[in-house]
Amino acid sequence: MATVSLESRPYEKVSDHDSSHESVNYLNHDHSILSWLLTLDHKRIGLLYLVTITLMFLLGGALAGAVRLELLTPKGDLLAADTYNKAFTAHGIIMLFFFLIPSIPAVMGNFVLPLMIGAKDVAFPRLNLLSYYLYFAGSVIALTALLLGGVDTGWTFYTPFSSTYSNSYVVVMAVGLFVVGFSSILTGLNFVVTVHRMRCPGLTWFRLPLFIWAIYATSVVQLLGTPVIAVTLGLLGVERTLGVGIFDPRLGGDPILFQHLFWFYSHPAVYIMILPSLGLISEVISTFSKKTVFGYHIIAFSSIAIAVFGFIVWAHHMFTTGISPYAAMVFSLLTFSVAIPSGIKVFSWLATMYGGSISFDTPMIYAFGFLGLFTIGGLTGLFLSTLGTDIHLHDTYFIVAHFHYIMVGGAIMGYMAGVHFWWPKITGRLYSEFWGKLSAGITFIGFNFTFFPQFILGYLGMPRRYYEYPDEFQVLNVFSTAGASILAIGYLMPMFYMPLSFFFGEKANSNPYGATTLDWTDTTSPPSPHNFEKTPVVTEEPYNFHGKEAAVVSH
């Protein structure tokens, strides 16, 4: 049985001989602004991303708030219909392209990946900085499009509305996404090469932490998928600028082709968002259960399998568009196959916890939240991959609830778990466990209040993307909006106690959780500018906690 320790972190105090916080580290070795803006250090670039995507997250969250407030009442009273369209479009675009896709790979991946594989940096540090500035430039262009008047097509840019009829700033937004797409490609490229070529001696593929496997799979998806959306948005831009009909049926074009090309990227993009979370959760659960991951090899391969399956299921977004029923059947069948590696992961996490000595630290609470929400999100995905059910549920709030359970309940919960997990490593300080656990709990409760009613709304037939709805849907919508306010509190809390801990928090030792991966065992907190004193040599598999627990407590 799991032994549950109610007192939090008996090992968090810095022992006397651990003087890492006084030595030179990547945060204090140079304080000038330029040393941050032009840094080639993967850790600092990770922090640049952290700050930027947090701002984008706040913006996207505010837009979500506007959408939810409008839906508080059945009548369209807060926002005009057109403004509402622009609000949910901006919410979707910002959250997906400017927050979720770069979230774990660009922040956690940048910071942790070289540390975890015992490297001094990523393979191409300059390219890494370029990725950041491409992301920044893309954000600026996208925000310009919003300030000019916004886009009203939905984040999917479906043709022919986006190509012919919409009078909003589609081309500007497409340029922004094109640029940010290159940032994503270059980050993926950098990570793939880093994992292949920069591992320290002894770190064979099957000694890699599972987070690395997940980031690697994600990077491959970024490499393969992103160029397709880039060229698709390019074609959309050509169509709008030249007034020709690539996708406009009036001019001989084929709007379904746009959806094929769009989803060839955008379905795998879902896995760009969720895969890193899956890997990260394996780290967190293993560390806080003090137990090796159950079925390491299977978990590693399931990340790769999810990445590959992600490319052969895209047309399940198009069951109602008039694609061939035979193709639809095949795509439906293939979609079910994604459930296999995802299910394997869920069972592995449970089996990892079973018999472990579980400590309920903040990252673990977030991971628990992740487990429940991701499972619900994944299982409802099976409803939607069933052809017949999807015809009924397509474009209803059931879809909205389903993908929020994956994106917010899965990806963002994982991201929050990760930020809390590596915070002592990033800053060398400990945040307040009390506030951390509270925010994790509030997020979980608020999330379910927001999105569970939407499953019912969708089942009852409330379509998405409408700013008005019949009166009988109001109760559930009020639930949802109320839940969104709770959720907002849950997300806002870390934005206060985390920065506060950076200045006033207790100092963390190099390995406050007794974790086993190189980022914890062989670096100081915060790490030195070149990560390792001497190149580490790995002699065993990760997550080997045997005989280490005692040593950790005695710190």
Binding site: F124, V193, P227, V231, V238, V244, G245, D254, F264
Partner: protein, 278 residues
Amino acid sequence: MERRPRLSATNQTVQDHGQHHHHKDLAHHFDTLEQQHDANTLGMWAFLLTEVLFFGGLFAAYTIYRYKYSAMFEEASNHLDITLGATNTVILILSSLTMALAVRCSQTGQAVWTGRWLLITIFFGLMFLGVKYFEWKHDYNIRLMPGKDWAGKDFFWWQYAKKAKEMEKHDKGHSHALPDPKDVLPDNDPSLGVKGIQESQQARLFFLLYFCMTSLHALHMLVGFVLIGIIAYFAYQGAYSPDYYSPVENIGLYWHFVDIVWIFLFPLLYLLGAHMGH
């Protein structure tokens, strides 16, 4: 396989003395030149993987429309100039050969010849774009490229373009003085109608894809010129040696990739309707 002695010696140095005796071309975060070379090569191949999918989006659009509108695509393809297309194919393959020779010279340490072959590669590349320029200009004049009299829903564009081509044959050099589309095709032409409009749309899709694919290809060549130019400069400066030539090797990979794209574009765009005769 025989190892180059200098490279092994360098490795030995790094292993023996640690970071303080780095080779001048070795970035700080790599341990050995080989590791750096392998990372660079892998990075380039991964980039080309991305490029395959980048062009792949266009090829997918081409495939679908080629399937849906195969008859019109063959007819439309017949309006492209096979001679120019074939000439360009030869020129680009030639440039691929000179690029391969440049990489070979960098491997054997012939710095000056590396630079020379690179410049010759640029020369052939420019020749390709020169031919392309005149071809595009010609296409534009007979209304096959986006521009004048191109867009519009209810417009017998294809019939007009065919007429423009015919007039151009009779009236060499004065093609820019084409009459107004309305004069060429009276509204009451009974042979046209819905079919005429459909044909126009389908043929226009072919030329639109022709325009998108060839210009994206040309854009890649322009980027290539800049990069090859920079690397040629460094080659003349003696920056590359058998120890360290991955920039030359990588620009070579890039250029060969551009060549491969053209190898597919040529038959798909120019030769579809060749059997129908001009």
